[in-house]
């Protein structure tokens, strides 16, 4: 029990990652409001950024600049990858919000259950 706890504490970055991931997915599944769904989706994606970036950092390591004074470097690659993923995430969020605006124009609401009701009427 104590060992598991200690392991969890020493890997707190992964614990936070999983926590954010679960919160994000939960919001996406449970909320009917489309903007809230997108917020959940965004949190879910953010957790992945952390999953990549945290292990790239080496304690005591510096930026990867060649210099005789430094021996230990952090890995820059995950940061670069996540830069791409952030752009992708932003594009998804922007497109999602644009769709929500259009849905609001077409249906007059962004609550999922109300939309389904309006579709059933027609």
């Amino acid at each position: 029990m104590m060992e598991t706890l200690a392991a969890a504490l020493s890997h707190y970055n992964y614990v936070i990652t999983i926590f954010l991931m679960m919160i994000g997915l939960y919001i996406v599944v449970v909320r009917g409001n489309m903007v809230k769904k997108l917020i959940g989706l965004s949190i879910f994606q953010t957790s992945v950024y952390l999953l990549y970036i945290a292990p790239g950092k080496i304690i005591g390591g510096t930026a990867p600049i060649i210099d005789p004074a430094f021996k230990l470097y952090s890995n820059p690659l995950p940061h670069v990858l996540i830069l791409t993923a952030i752009v992708v995430g932003m594009a998804t969020l922007a497109l999602g919000l644009a769709l929500v605006v259009r849905i609001n124009e077409a249906y007059g609401t962004i609550e999922e259950d109300e939309i389904f009701e309006r579709d059933r009427e027609t």
């Binding site: 989706l41 791409t84 497109l95 999602g96 077409a106 249906y107």
Partner: protein
Amino acid sequence: MSAVWPHLPILQVIIPLFGALLAGFARRAGPAFAIALVVSWLMPLCAGAMLWQVLASGPISYHLGSWAPPWGIEYRVDVLNAFVLVLVSIIGAVIMPFARRSVAFEIEEGQRAWFYCMYLLCLTGLLGITITGDAFNAFVFLEISSLSTYVLIALGRDRRALLAAFQYLIMGTIGATFYVVGVGLLYLVTGSLNMVDIAARLGPTWADNSRAIIAALAFVTVGVSLKLALFPLHVWLPNAYAYAPSWATAFLSATATKVAIYLLVRFLFSIFGVAIDLRGLPVAAIIVALSLAAMFVASLIAVFQSNVSRMLAYSSVAQIGYITLGIGFVNLAGLTGGLVHIVNHALMKAALFLAVGAIFFRVRTVRLSELAGIGRKMPITMAAFTVACFGLVGTPGTSGFISKWYLALGALEKGWWIVVFLIVGSSLIALVYVGRVLELAWLREPSKAIADASDPPLSMLLPLMLLAAATIYFGFDTEWTAGIASMAAKDLLGGLR
């Protein structure tokens, strides 16, 4: 020409990407269509040349910016890649002429150029996923194709198209994010993103990191399965296909899910299969079980649909079940069947959705109840539709039969007699839903709604007839489909541990 030759892999991505930019800048429908047409017709030449090169002299490895793998991004083309590339680009090329009138009919003036722009971006993404040898690069292309697909779907006329696009956006993003999580775990374990390199490094660390590797396998499989609409992760598909513009549906149903299936095959066989004992894990068993469920549940739902597009969409879910069933067998005949069904199903579904698009073009409805007697008014369209339907059921003499034959062989090789009966059984259900439409179309008196319908113009008929002819042709001459599929399958299985 000789200067272009070694750079074919990158051109496969660059040409549609720049085409998309040009089409966006063109702003008007006419020039945008012309650009899309030229690009679509160039792509099969490009892909065909690479397939020829691969068949003649083995896999092509292209290093982006001359950075050698595993540090640089590598585009790697082997038989499987080239096969899928040729399929995607040929589908795009064949159905492109259909787009002009169909898009002009269904999409507002100001949005038509954007439609072509989004189609070209989607093509970029799909070809990119297929050609890249870098796991993270595949994610970026996956998102390029997905984001443009959401827009393509949202351009549909009905307001429900917006809702379908939104739901697909949520599901698709969750799927893609799962995929990145899986790739991230693989990167943590191996320190590499190059697919070949991951496969080589994964084996030695298996003993220490088996839990992380299994988690990565699960994340990637589930994420990609969302994209390929494996039952029960298919819920986004029927609405998306039913409300998207007809031409977009035909294109997406033939290519998007197929490319996702390719990605699944690549990960299962070329990465995980090479490094760890895939047969010792229950992955294949789960895939087989879900595929069988897809074949029956989705077919049964299709029987009760009143809208032809929705019926065909559910039938797509069932047909994807056949493909993944073949993958789940993990033997030569089964995998060949799955891969060859990728092609056959793409040809048939493209033909079917084009026919539906042609019907919508003429009579503005695809509700089954209003289509009575349509066969007498639009004989050529419905003849092509009928041929593709027979392919869907798997009648001998059509390409659908070839795929099911290989699948049955694969099942027999495993000693799973019952699965052979299940394949036949689900084909009979397909006969029921297909039969409903055909009976209505050919044997009833024409209804009022379709009184002045007639076959669409030649530019729309020609793609339709070509695809229908291909469905029959590949039922007899299997050298190009089953032959190459079995070569790819042999490669994949040969690498398995």
